[in-house]
């Protein structure tokens, strides 16, 4: 029994499970999800254009995998991933307070950290589905002639894994921001597109104060060629350490978000 002083893990798990089901359903039905799905088709469209040009001889052949690993991954890793996780992550708390639907959750037998965990999981699932579906389609188009090669699939699977880790980590951070701040979206934009971009220009260990650094450290080595922008100025961390860092960042910010949500009072913006 949660008596206000202690958090009961059982309640957190049960609550998270119930909330996950409801909000995954809600998220799928939302109009904005459909718009994000449309946006996720842009790299597929780009991949199609590139492949068509390649087949018609207007672009150099055989570079599909390199284009996938670098160019398209820029779109996914440094733009689409951040946009989706920023929106959904901050929505965990903000959409309930701004939409004034929080009483429906607060007056049910749900643990508050469980609500945060449930919504977080639902939105991570949703964004993973959107991004991975698009990634797979782009990969199949661009690396069509190398689908029989295990190396190609390794690149895809590692890229997919990195994106999923990115989803988990960024969503946790933005969930924390959404619980903490009223103007979380604006701060999130500054972080996601300001800090995360600028930090790569800093030497030494400064890069380690960003999430994207660890994600890039886990990316498969890009095929050599003219497309190596993604790894620009990267001083990678060892993969095992990078993975650990991401897991710790995720757990830390998610835990903090749950605690803060439990402790805070949300007053309706009347």
């Amino acid at each position: 029994m949660d008596e206000g002083g202690r958090i009961n893990k059982g309640w957190v798990r049960k609550s998270a499970g119930r909330v996950l089901g409801f909000f995954f359903f809600l998220g799928r039905r939302a109009k904005k999800t459909r718009v994000f799905v449309l946006i996720s088709l842009l790299p597929v469209l780009q991949a199609t254009i590139i492949k068509t040009s390649e087949l018609s001889g207007r672009a150099p052949a055989g570079e599909g995998l390199a284009i996938f690993s670098n160019f398209l991954m820029i779109f996914y890793l440094q733009f689409f991933l951040v946009i989706l996780t920023l929106f959904y992550g901050t929505s965990v708390a903000s959409e309930e307070t701004e939409g004034r639907t929080l009483p429906f959750l607060q007056t049910r037998p749900l643990s508050k950290p469980g609500i945060v965990l449930g919504k977080y999981t639902a939105y991570c699932l949703l964004t993973s589905l959107i991004i991975l579906a698009s990634l797979l389609a782009s990969f199949l188009i661009l690396a069509g002639e190398r689908l029989g090669s295990p190396a190609a699939w390794e690149i895809f699977l590692r890229s997919a894994a990195v994106l999923v880790l990115g989803i988990l980590c960024y969503t946790a951070f933005f969930t924390f921001l959404g619980v903490l701040l009223k103007r979380s979206l604006f701060v999130g934009l500054i972080f996601g597109f300001g800090w995360e971009s600028v930090i790569s220009f800093f030497p030494g260990s400064t890069q380690r104060f960003s999430i994207v650094h660890y994600l890039k450290s886990l990316l498969p080595a890009a095929p050599r060629g003219r497309f190596s922008f993604l790894m620009f100025r990267l001083e990678p961390t060892r993969p095992a350490l990078a993975l650990l860092a991401l897991v710790l960042i995720t757990a830390f910010f998610l835990g903090l978000a749950g605690l803060l949500f439990r402790w805070k009072e949300y007053l309706a913006e009347d």
Partner: protein, 290 residues
């Protein structure tokens, strides 16, 4: 004898007259609400940093000897010509600041009204659809013009003042028109862009994300495609590139991308027309529920 005036509330006894500009209260209220946000004032102040930097540049250009030690290799900064003005108007940070202002201040202009069913309240008054749209557009125009037209003209005037002569004006008499022209182009574009996205959703947070995402995403798409195909025409995909292309032409400079600038004008015009069409459909007093 002194008149004793009644100090209670009383109805207005005068004749109600029709306003010449019915949209004006919509604009003034919109601007006032935006300035009430605490953090907005800081962002707004920061958006003038490029203008201040350029103003300092103009000052330095008249005192080159004093600042020679600082401006080694920065000769470009010191040459005050249409290229100088073009570089201000097409500056990446300035365009970025304009987008951030739209994100922070103007995302909810229509979205909030849709969310709270306020359109019925607007149209229950002697206000037409065009008045409503004009009123909201004027809010955005206010901020964009403050960052473009006003600094542009101030830079021009200060150059004349610091130089103590009309040399700049005599050399480039069309320069003020270019300043006005590009300011208007940026204003019309950002009005269309912001109002379009704001009218497409009731969720202000979602609109904020989309304003930023579409601007940045189109640029990334351009970067990817031009990196692969090495074709300048992919710049037509990018909002930023199109604005820079048209800005260069309006200041009589060589466009940054090697394709006819008229195409960029076409893209911007088409976008504005689509935005106007969508706005006229979305803004209405009654909601159609499907």
């Amino acid at each position: 004898m002194a008149t004793i005036r009644e100090q209670g509330y009383s109805h207005w006894d005068g004749r109600l007259i029709e306003r010449k500009r019915p949209w004006w209260p919509v604009t003034t209220m919109g601007i006032r609400l935006i300035f009430r946000k605490k953090n907005f004032r800081l962002l707004f102040a920061m958006s003038f940093v490029p203008a201040v930097v350029y103003l300092v540049g103009i000052y330095v250009s008249e005192r080159v000897e004093d600042f020679k030690f600082m401006v080694r290799g920065s000769a470009q900064l010191l040459k005050i010509d249409p290229g100088f003005f073009k570089s201000y108007f097409t500056l990446d940070p300035l365009l970025f600041m304009m987008v951030m202002l739209m994100v922070f201040a103007c995302a909810g202009l229509v979205a909030d009204d849709l969310r709270h069913n306020a359109l019925q309240l607007y149209f229950a008054r002697p206000l037409r659809k065009m008045d409503y749209i004009l009123g909201k557009a004027a809010v955005i125009a206010f901020f964009i013009l403050l960052l473009t037209l006003i600094p542009g003209l101030v830079l021009f005037i200060f150059k004349l003042v610091f130089a103590g002569s009309f040399a700049l004006f005599r050399s480039y008499p069309w320069l003020p028109l270019s300043v006005i022209g590009d300011s208007l182009l940026l204003t019309v574009f950002f009005v269309s862009y912001t109002l379009l996205l704001s009218a497409l959703s009731r969720n202000r947070r979602y609109v904020m994300v989309m304003i930023f995402a579409v601007y940045l995403g189109t640029d990334i798409a351009f970067g990817i495609m031009s990196g692969i195909f090495k074709s300048p025409y992919f710049a037509l995909l990018s909002i930023k590139a199109n604005l820079q292309q048209t800005g260069a032409v309006l200041f009589g400079q060589r466009p940054p991308h090697a394709f006819p600038a008229v195409l960029s004008f076409g893209v911007i015009l088409a976008f504005c027309l689509v935005a106007a069409w969508v706005l006229l459909r979305r803004v209405r007093g009654v909601e159609v529920i499907k």
